[in-house]
Symmetry: D2
Subunit: 266 residues, 4 copies
């Protein structure tokens, strides 16, 4: 089983990179499953719209994951309940959170659970991601063959701790949210594919995908500043490619990076 | 001018990696200057001792930088004022902070300023790093040929913003503190070498260099837990190699990574 | 039903104030139940010991509540499970947290639930206090006549929101943790006694009960500083007196304050 | 010298309370100077407008102070530079912050400095309030007779530490920002009037002045919620009255509280 995962798609330039490269990547690497984090895919870089959800699926995604910005475009409340391949973080609190925190998809007769989970260190105090993933896996792990977790979190410590906590239970624990790819892709204990963050898809010369002038201005003044998505210039696409064995463990995880210094030339 | 930089050295395994590999790296890559971040180099992973400072210098370091853990081993107050190649973050507040936030060293008749700077997002509220580096550069930039900044900070946004803020003024802005190497080494505007974080030197199967069992226990219970440095098992060394042009701008920045999956084989 | 509650007892001066005044207060006001927050009652101001627990009970307390410092004196693990009137915050995560988050005591044939609950804004990310208190009340509210909640939290917003959330379900929601008494004691909707914080018992000329020189030094330097409990000088005792009606609602809540400007003269 | 100070005026109900009671309070207590914190005085509870600034001055204020919400209504950039009695926090960073962090007013031949200062614990990382107030007082303290500080901060520890830091240098250190009045008004070392927070003016049945339903919803869901100012129902006015001696020290500080349980009946 080969999984292609692309990190946080930010704004129009992010969606454009997926439009351009996802078909090529699928043609060249032939993943059975493609997962894309769409939490920043609207033109303003916060949340997702139905139109963009459909566009990312048309580009070749099988599942779209989200994160702390899941709810920033209120339109999501209209379509998340009917979109079974759009997954929001599992551990938002309450009994009637719209949408679902995971989906199980069939791939050549095998079942893959795709789970979206969110960290709490320096983000919102939602339910405990360690508790919630443990409960979910207790419930579903006997019925699924593979478990993929997009762990959307800020700190390297919470992410690595989650990777180690799930070693042997998840096939892959892949980080998102910081928008910068890390260089620590590895197989934990020869069982679980792990990377602290796969990075983002979108504007290259930016801070988190935003125009950097206003971000620097904010750091210098600490007064409110409008942040705008960078909408022109160089682009980046970040992700990873994971190969799983039939027993549900991971064989390899490789990073994917397309940017001005790393042109795509397969 | 070639600079070799190694990220946060953690505990005995970190010092051991520097002992083992720094001489080889210097032999093989022939940097004119070697800088090592030593903020976690005591056996308990917090602060630095005089003995270890001397050991790292003997291994081949020219300058040792620090970070938020600079003051955790109180012995530092005894030797920092006399150790001109031991640099603590520039932007600690007050008029009589022990030690210095930068040092200027002579390399083949050229002057290199090595500056340690600390971020504030999700760390302690010390003085504004943007303001302080701006003031320092206004003071010294005409008298030095190269400027190297170890920016010790948590978030990708504060670090990338700093890199962009200093583009054209610093030769290199290199991040530390998260202990995980990022995959975004780049030359900003063909002028300034940048990487969000170079990563750490120390225990490989760990969270930030600490034994992961107690870290996971802490996440699961939220009750006080003793964190201990991982003192056995696989090791990692992380850093980067930066080449600067005579005009003070950067030509290239390459990552260095030695771990079980990346054996050293130059 | 009259309840006397005393806020966070800090260090030796705090225990001394309880020794001195609790018998007088009980004699003068004749509460049926006395509850004391003991999370800072060791000589170092963090946690509680068995000896001090016994001493506070001997002084006249019926129940001791705790807070985020509950676990700082590790001795607590030895006696909390056997001390049914020592209550730690309900919402620590996990299935086998030592001790209990509430106790039910019988008072003249009526049942009073005393619950300790902890906030999350700017404190540790434990389980959701709103969810957990809702679940507990769903389970026990039919079997008890009165519900007293010590809500140990930092911000005025989380505390007032909790008071309003529990209006009509709790007889009293009383805040602790900031160590400063607020002047907003009130009966919410003629049902629930509320105060944002009752304040502390201990050293008067202090910051949170600690010697202020080292606290100011910490603010000025942002470097590690040893904080020590203030162990001499003026003292303060802070608390409140709550009268409940037979139907479980609150009739009144009055603050108690004994300090150099407010000598006890009943 | 008698000073009347009113805490954060929130929304229309807050402005209405000032309209109603400030003339009466001035008539009854005859302060020489009246200071009002207006950081939440627009109808949406964030920032201040020129119209409301003028209205509060017409009601009898001599100086308006602000806080972290100073900049939320962008109109302020149009009039703050020309409004010498509108004071924003002193310690916003940068050399060209609009407006001023203090004003000196003449009262019967005496000079009173009114300073607005903002804390950093759990608020934005602006410049160090301890450093900045020390620098300002070094500059002006010989030229003024009285010093009044509105310290806009979150935690009881930062506020009390500031009060103790300025004991003997400021005539009064009065806290704002938490919107809840504390019961610890006192004269520090017989020199400096102090209260941790004077509380707010505005809607009574609210959380920070906002409708509580949406605040509770936010705590329960952790998803984005629109917060709206409470615009009807009971009202509160909070403040304090400070008497200073001719030598610049404080003689007394008394709280003012008008709400449904504390009708005004002087
Ligand atoms: Fe994102
Ligand atoms: Fe995110
Ligand atoms: Fe470090
Ligand atoms: Fe660090
Ligand atoms: Fe406490
Ligand atoms: Fe506490
Ligand atoms: Fe306010
Ligand atoms: Fe405020």
């Amino acid at each position: 089983m080969r999984i292609l995962f692309l990190g946080d798609v930010v704004g129009n330039l992010g969606v454009d990179m997926v439009d351009q490269y996802l078909p090529k990547l699928k043609h060249d690497f032939k993943p059975q499953v493609t997962i894309v984090n769409g939490e920043n895919s609207t033109p303003v870089g916060r949340g997702i719209s139905y139109k963009i959800y459909k566009q990312l699926m048309n580009d070749g995604a099988d599942v779209i994951t989200l994160g702390n910005h899941a709810w920033n475009n209120e339109e999501i409340y209209d379509f998340i309940d009917d979109s079974k391949n759009l997954v929001r973080p599992l551990n938002y609190p309450g009994k009637d959170v719209p949408g679902s925190g995971y989906t199980v998809i069939n791939v050549n007769g095998k079942k893959l659970a795709v789970i979206n989970l969110q960290g709490r260190i320096f983000i919102d105090p939602i339910d405990d991601p360690f508790q919630k993933i443990d409960e979910l896996l207790n419930k579903i792990e006997k019925e699924v063959d593979y478990v993929f977790v997009d762990f959307h979190a800020e700190t390297t410590s919470e992410k690595k701790a989650m990777g180690l906590f799930l070693t042997g239970r998840a096939s892959a624990v892949v980080g998102t949210h910081t928008h910068v790819q890390t260089n620590d892709n590895q197989i934990l204990n020869n069982q679980t594919a792990y990377i602290t963050d796969v990075g983002m898809c979108g504007p290259f010369n930016s801070v988190l995908g935003m125009k950097y002038d206003s971000i620097i201005h904010r750091f210098l003044t600490q007064r409110p500043t409008r942040f705008e998505v960078q909408n022109e210039g160089d682009q980046i696409l970040s992700g990873c490619l994971i190969d799983l064995r039939d027993d549900g463990t991971a064989r390899s995880i490789k990073t994917i990076l397309i940017d001005p210094s790393h042109p795509y030339n397969r």
